[in-house]
Symmetry: C2
Subunit: 231 residues, 2 copies
DNA sequence: CGGAGCATTGAATTGCATCAAGGCACGTGG
DNA sequence: CCACGTGCCTTGATGCAATTCAATGCTCCG
């Protein structure tokens, strides 16, 4: 079992659970956790339908959380950033397939041991409960985004999600480094890959963004993007 | 303070939290809860932006959970059935507006007292955590539904959500009693009221349903509806 | 052996025809 | 009277196909 430091990376992202732990809680979690490293993109952490026996903590990198739809398409439910938990299951089976989008490090927390810790330490459990509620809120946001008819609005919301990513956004140059392909974005926003391209082109025409390359998007008019996106 | 029986209604719906309580836990929750009765539809429980100081348990009836969108439209995030919790907030303020769709009874659980109970009783907290995770799963389902391009598929998923409602679905006659208007359904599925009508008409033409009246929908071909809807 | 230039592959973009949902108006029915 | 249904036209996303672009691998030559 390798030695684990439960937290890393710079940048004060969101509601990082690991930042809220007491030293003792941290030690306990590290006691049951094992670190997994995925050195490249497009690697699978687990698949929809597999036996669920652990919860995962994303420490570094980025993963996508997807569901298969019966029409052959997939729906990307969420892109996860460092500090996020994943491992949602139903009837003992994972409900999503998790794939890396960049080199990634996760901590694996076996469910049985984790449950024991949470029952022993109600304060720790409260942190997990808070995190779950937080994720619920994010899911509601995504529901609102998909409720938008216009492709531009959806894409604007998507781009703004990067604002708090220390790894994929540079606040000085205001450049987002997209770790995923157009078709990944399409599967997330319920568009086609072509519609994503067209929407980006329109955004550039309207001076909202500038495409320095396919993956590097300069957020020219942040205010305008925010007006477009809902909430 | 009226006397409260923490549970009622017949029919074994979903993951009803109140069915899983020990007598002691039930007594404790009833000790901090107050019952609220809304005798009609279209009454507001609370609004988006109001100070959040309680969690709510839906005991009987049905409510809708909606967000305002900047374009003036609203997005209905979820229709809640008996057994569901609501009261999601961010920065001490509710993020949704809750409105009744039928005569409804809820229990109001003040947050401060609830938090105290949850920290004292880790097993009880685990029930709430499980419920939150369950809701997260439902939100993911809704994301998948909104990812469907076709109005018929979305509507099929919507109709099938009633299958486990003891109050609004009769398994013998296979008739759903819709408590909400067409425009409510539209705001939920990200369609227009007209598109909902047209989709229902097409469904009837294809023999999937029969409209006994605007609010009474007979599910003629359950199998067919399930094939249309995702999962 | 090393490097310049070309070939191959896959992703991203763009044009064009098609189609389904939106928007408006009007009619109907509880 | 208000909610629902439907016809007609508009709008915008989709699907297909052709083109551009980037990255990588390969060959051939110095």
């Amino acid at each position: 079992m390798p030695s684990i430091s439960f937290s890393r990376t710079g940048g004060g992202e969101r509601n990082r659970l690991d930042r809220l732990l007491t030293p003792k809680q941290r030690a306990r979690l590290e006691g049951i956790a094992s670190a997994l490293t995925y050195p490249a993109r497009n690697l699978t952490v687990y698949r929809e339908g597999q036996d669920a026996n652990a919860l995962y903590f994303l420490n570094f990198g980025m993963v996508e959380l997807a569901c298969q739809k019966q029409d052959g398409n997939r729906q990307i439910v969420s892109f996860l950033h460092p500090g996020d938990l994943f491992g949602l299951f139903e009837h003992e089976r994972y409900v999503n397939t998790v794939r890396t989008l960049a080199p990634t490090e996760v901590f694996r927390l076996p469910l049985a041991e984790l449950r024991r810790l949470l029952v022993e330490d109600a304060q720790l459990q409260l942190l997990f409960l808070t995190k779950a509620v937080h994720d619920l809120r994010r899911a509601q946001r995504q529901i609102s985004v998909l409720g938008q008819r216009d492709a531009l609005q959806r894409l604007a919301s998507f781009l703004l999600e990067f604002l708090y990513s220390s790894q994929f956004y540079d606040p000085d140059t205001r450049v987002v480094t997209l770790p995923m392909s157009r078709s990944d974005i399409a599967d997330y926003l319920a568009l086609t890959q072509e519609s994503v391209s067209r929407a980006l082109a329109r955004m550039e025409a309207e001076g909202l963004i500038r495409r320095r390359s396919a993956k590097l998007i300069h957020l020219q008019n942040l205010r305008g993007l925010m007006t477009l996106a809902a909430f």
